[in-house]
């Protein structure tokens, strides 16, 4: 049972079996958030503020309540009182209190017997507003004359004299940057901005809620974390956590945006008031206006370099606007910014700034892509000025095992050098460019995460296995769990069914975020399987009348070993499970922990851009993603994560943006004008999986879900800037912006 050693030869892990959810999804049998129904179900609709910032003077619900078919109307008065901290912030975002803080902020909700009636009733709810001055831009929100959005929100970290809209501050680094810059042959300092983007998951938020007067409830919702939903809904409604059972539906994309709650507490409040189940489904416009996009940013980066490419010092200031609530991930932006490089002198500063926009939510490696855009653009400028090869410069400065990271700790085994070498040696990097094309590269970094994890694994009499995990499958994790269980148990992949358990049937689980699921739920699945194996070995030992430690597990069988080797025929798993009821009872394994060896992740992207100098339009003819997966459990899914990161990054870099009018209203709250790339905008995205095993996982796994979106903004900006012959400082690099830059450049 020497199963704690890291494994390196695999039978099932690393293969590409069919996905277990494939048939359900292609036949329409899969049940997503909006697919649930219940007897007596009502339909909800939410009234939203049309103003960016307004005091709510009065809400008159009488006309709506008098309408036929209307069963309940709720406002903030129908939620728990006295909350503090993040519970209060989430509650304030889910249903406005005294003040509407952004265009789209929920102020009331109604439940009626049909969706159309609910929509009509919502129009009858009369809200009197006193419009207040607003601000939506990060730099303007920090300026001395900016309207104060929520005075007193700032915590103790903010330096004296800052505007009250600056609510948190971060500073980290090491060495002496001034001395480092003095050693440089060239120092470049430049400023950059990025606009907010949305995760763009295809499935809008949807839920079905039922909450009785006894405080017992059921919630079905599309979410990346149903224990998070349970905890927050219970707090916002003022009920006990365990009395609310939450079931995660099949999920149509999340990318971080479904790691919080929006409509779920509202549906529960409506249900409690109407004493009927209530279904709430967001429209796409509601998703864009009132869920959590990324932060917008304003950044200054300064880097010094010697003529041979050695970076002598680096400094960055990162200002993130995350809506009208604290929490913009500016510390991640700051900490990730220079992580790919081994620097003696580095300093990074972050500001969390509030503005009249929706509360930001996580979006794949939250905060890191923007940092990479600023930092890697300056490195590219240095390479151009000093006539140095961009990959060689990055190789020269790359972080490796033992490097003191820019954000503090020393790196263990990491794969950045391997990724850069793979980039240098990839045919893409040396392929000739056509007229009007430019090539960009960028490194990217993400921490990865462990998080609270519970897994339970039960054996059936026929020798098959059911695995219950608590992390919603947002990227193919059921296939990965089944592969790791089959590897551990030595039985075929097809003999294992993995289910996402509800909150009543498994211990607590952190959200599916931080690229943690394949790592943490995978580790817990392996450990749970090992526990079941130990029990099976014990049953075999009892049957054979030999000591437990004289039985080993090999290829799905209990085998006598040591002095008893060869004394008995191996017992297959199905032989043991067939009579387990009579040999000691049902056999299962479980594992609960907060694993802390997630293993950081690096990637390198190579991209070619073609810019039409007459229209400023960019196309992407070639794209290659190279990333360290530690060990790719299901390589097709890993490649899919790489490609998905690049695809979303292309959108973020070129055309996606939140466009606010002078009135503070979102101008493009539909997919027609919120321009996500369509299939024909994308090239075939090539992938290279690098495998430098993570010492913190039995099979060497690192999360792969987030790092893939870190390099694209920078790599594309570098490619576009080289193709256009003019440096781009602001995202998105939409055609009007590129054409204006070309004209300004003459």
């Amino acid at each position: 049972m020497a199963l704690d050693d890291r494994k390196s030869d695999f039978t099932f892990v690393g293969t590409r079996p069919d996905r277990p959810d494939g048939l359900d999804k292609v036949t329409g049998r899969a049940k997503f958030g909006a697919d649930a129904v219940a007897p007596g179900m009502l339909f909800g609709a939410i009234v939203r503020s049309p103003h960016a910032h307004a005091r709510i003077v009065k809400i008159d619900t009488s006309k709506a309540e008098a309408m036929k078919g209307v069963k309940a109307v709720v406002t903030r008065a129908d939620f728990a009182t006295g909350l503090t901290g993040e519970f209060w912030n989430v509650q304030e975002n889910v249903m406005a209190g005294d003040t509407a803080l952004y265009d789209g902020h929920a102020v009331a909700a109604v439940a009626a017997t049909s969706a159309l009636d609910a929509r009509d009733a919502a129009k009858l709810i009369e809200v009197e507003y006193e419009v207040l001055p607003h601000v939506t831009d990060v730099d303007k929100a920090m300026a001395a004359d900016a309207p104060v959005i929520r005075d007193g929100t700032a915590d103790g970290s903010v330096p004296e004299g800052m505007h009250p809209n600056v609510v948190r501050y971060h500073e980290s680094g090491h060495g002496d940057v001034a001395a480092g810059f003095a050693e440089a042959d060239l120092v470049i300092e430049d400023s950059f901005k990025t606009e907010a983007t949305h995760q763009g998951y295809i499935e809008p938020h949807a839920c079905l809620a039922s909450l009785g007067a006894d405080g017992k409830g059921e919630l079905w919702c599309t979410t990346q974390g149903h224990w998070y939903a349970q905890k927050h809904c219970a707090a916002l409604l003022g009920i006990e956590t365990s009395q609310l059972r939450v079931t995660a539906s099949e999920i149509g994309g999340g990318f971080g945006g479904k790691t919080t709650v929006f409509i779920e507490p509202v549906a529960l409040a409506l249900s409690r008031k109407a004493n009927r189940p209530v279904k709430l489904v967001m429209s796409r416009s509601e998703v864009l206006r009132a869920t959590g996009p990324t932060s917008s940013t304003s950044m200054d980066v300064k880097i010094g370099m010697k003529k041979d490419g050695t970076i002598t010092a680096a400094e960055g200031v990162f200002r993130l606007q995350g809506g009208a609530f604290p929490g913009a991930p500016m510390e991640f932006t700051a900490m990730c910014a220079f992580a790919p490089y081994a620097l003696e002198n580095v300093r990074q500063v972050g500001y969390d700034v509030i503005a009249n926009r929706p509360k930001q939510a996580a979006y794949r490696a939250p905060g890191s892509p923007m940092a990479a855009f600023a930092v890697e653009s300056v490195i590219d400028l240095l390479c151009q000025e000093l006539d140095l090869d961009p990959v060689e410069v990055r190789l020269k400065n790359a972080s490796k095992k033992g490097t003191k990271a820019s954000y503090g700790p020393r790196f263990d085994d990491i794969g950045l050098v391997e990724c850069l070498e793979a980039a240098r040696d990839h045919p893409h990097y040396s392929a000739p460019l056509e007229q009007g094309q430019g090539r960009g590269i960028s490194c990217g970094f993400w921490f990865n995460h462990g998080g609270e994890t519970s897994v339970s694994l039960a054996l059936s009499e026929d020798g098959t296995v059911q695995v219950s995990v608590g992390t919603p499958d947002i990227g193919g994790s059921r296939a990965s769990m089944a592969l790791m269980a089959s590897e551990t148990l030595g039985i075929p992949y097809e003999n294992i069914r993995v289910t996402i358990a509800d909150t009543a049937t498994l211990g607590y689980n952190d959200v599916s975020h931080g690229s943690r699921v394949t790592y943490a739920s995978g580790l817990a699945t392996i450990k749970a399987a090992q526990a079941a194996i130990a029990e099976m070995c014990k049953r075999a030992a009892a049957k054979w009348g030999i000591p437990e430690d004289a039985v080993k597990w090999e290829d799905g069988c209990a085998v006598p070993s040591g002095p008893n080797a060869g004394d008995f025929e191996p017992l297959a798993m199905a032989d043991i499970t067939a009579d387990m009821g009579a040999t000691g009872g049902p056999i299962s394994g479980h594992f609960e922990a907060t694993p802390e060896g997630a293993g950081v992740s690096f990637g390198v992207h190579i991209v070619d851009a073609q810019v039409d100098p007459e229209t400023g339009k960019t196309s992407i003819p070639r794209y290659t993603v190279i990333q360290d997966a530690g060990k790719a459990v299901h390589p097709a899914y890993v490649e899919g994560q790489f490609q998905g990161g690049a695809a979303q990054g292309i959108g973020w870099a070129l055309n996606e943006e939140y466009i606010y009018g002078e009135d503070g209203r979102l101008q493009n709250a539909v997919f027609l004008d919120y321009r996500i790339p369509v299939a024909s905008d994308l090239p075939m995205i090539d992938t290279v999986i690098v495998e430098v095993p993570n010492p913190g996982h039995p099979y060497g796994v690192r999360g792969v879900g987030e790092t893939g979106i870190v390099p694209p903004l920078a790599a594309i900006a570098n490619a576009v800037s080289r193709a256009a012959g003019v440096r781009m400082h602001e995202l998105p690099m939409s055609p009007p912006r590129i054409l204006a830059a070309l004209k300004a450049d003459g």
Binding site: T615, L672, S680, P736, K743
Partner: protein
């Protein structure tokens, strides 16, 4: 909401004439139904004109001109070989509207009567000299396409009037047309600028031309200065530059979420050149695949 499916245009006109509140005619429904579902326009009266005889017919008349029923879809136009051969610019402009699914429903008439300044088929129809037959209480009249839109979302059609047919002129010899639009993506987008050119040659020399711009003013523009810039030329660089300058000069755009005044003005000139080159090549008998810029 009242739904009607009249058997004739006269009946449709009478229904609209006598209706109260908001009336919408329903052909493909790719604007009307989307606006209904998005809670933008909820008609009191919906008059479905798809069940009127002949509305799905594409007919070439004896003089070579074409008559298209008001429910003819973009997909039906694209699949019609001889219409596509005669008027590739008009057909391709319509084909740019929406997705493959939308193409199975969307119509030229709907694209025109929706009143969007960015409608793709409208500049192409204006350049081609297309007219529509308008039916009202007092019978029918023929109106140039360019006279239908009067501003964003508005048309010159009076209460009780509706378009009952689309009339495309005979193409004639040595002629070609083209439409190009600018969108930041490759599909599924709204024109930031659209330019259509229709021209005729005598040998290598342009003898007739019509140039129309979309999405750069409250309504579609037919720009005589653009036509003058290339008539009499062999579409040499000087003529193309003059065309571009005239197109840019004619623009009266706004800055909005889709583009800036400066961008639209510049790109109108760029697209005018590119569209003129395609139309010219087609007039010379070359087969040129159109594409948006």
């Amino acid at each position: 909401m009242n739904y009607h499916s009249p058997a004739s245009f006269a009946e449709a006109s009478a229904l609209a004439e006598n209706a109260d509140g908001v009336t919408r005619f329903l052909a493909g429904g790719t604007d009307v139904l989307v606006q209904l579902r998005a809670d933008i326009v909820t008609p009191d009266t919906l008059i479905d004109i798809k069940k009127i005889d002949g509305v799905s017919d594409i007919t070439q008349n004896d003089d070579g001109s074409w008559t298209l029923g008001v429910a003819v879809t973009g997909a039906e136009m694209t699949e019609h070989a001889s219409l596509s051969r005669d008027w590739p610019g008009v057909v391709e402009a319509m084909d740019l509207v929406g997705s493959t699914q939308v193409q199975g429903r969307a119509t030229l008439t709907g694209n025109l009567c929706n009143g969007s300044p960015a409608a793709d088929s409208v500049p192409a129809m204006v350049a081609a000299g297309v007219t529509v037959t308008v039916t009202g209480a007092d019978g029918s009249r023929e109106v140039a396409v360019g006279d239908i839109p009067t501003g964003p979302g508005r048309t010159s059609l009076a209460k009780g009037e509706l378009v009952s047919a689309v009339n495309i002129p005979a193409r004639g010899d040595n002629a070609g047309d083209a439409y190009l639009r600018f969108i930041p993506r490759t599909e599924m987008d709204i024109a930031v600028v659209g330019v259509a050119v229709s021209l005729r040659l005598d040998g290598d020399t342009v003898t007739e031309a019509r140039v129309s711009l979309g999405a750069v003013a409250p309504t579609v523009l037919l720009v005589q200065e653009c036509a003058d810039a290339i008539i009499g030329s062999t579409l040499d660089d000087a003529a193309l530059d003059a065309l571009a300058a005239a197109a840019s000069a004619a623009c009266n755009p706004i800055t909005d979420k889709r583009g800036t005044v400066e961008f639209r003005t510049d790109v109108a000139g760029v697209l005018a050149k590119r569209a003129a080159k395609i139309a010219y090549a087609r007039a010379k008998g070359e087969t040129v695949k159109g594409d948006h810029a």
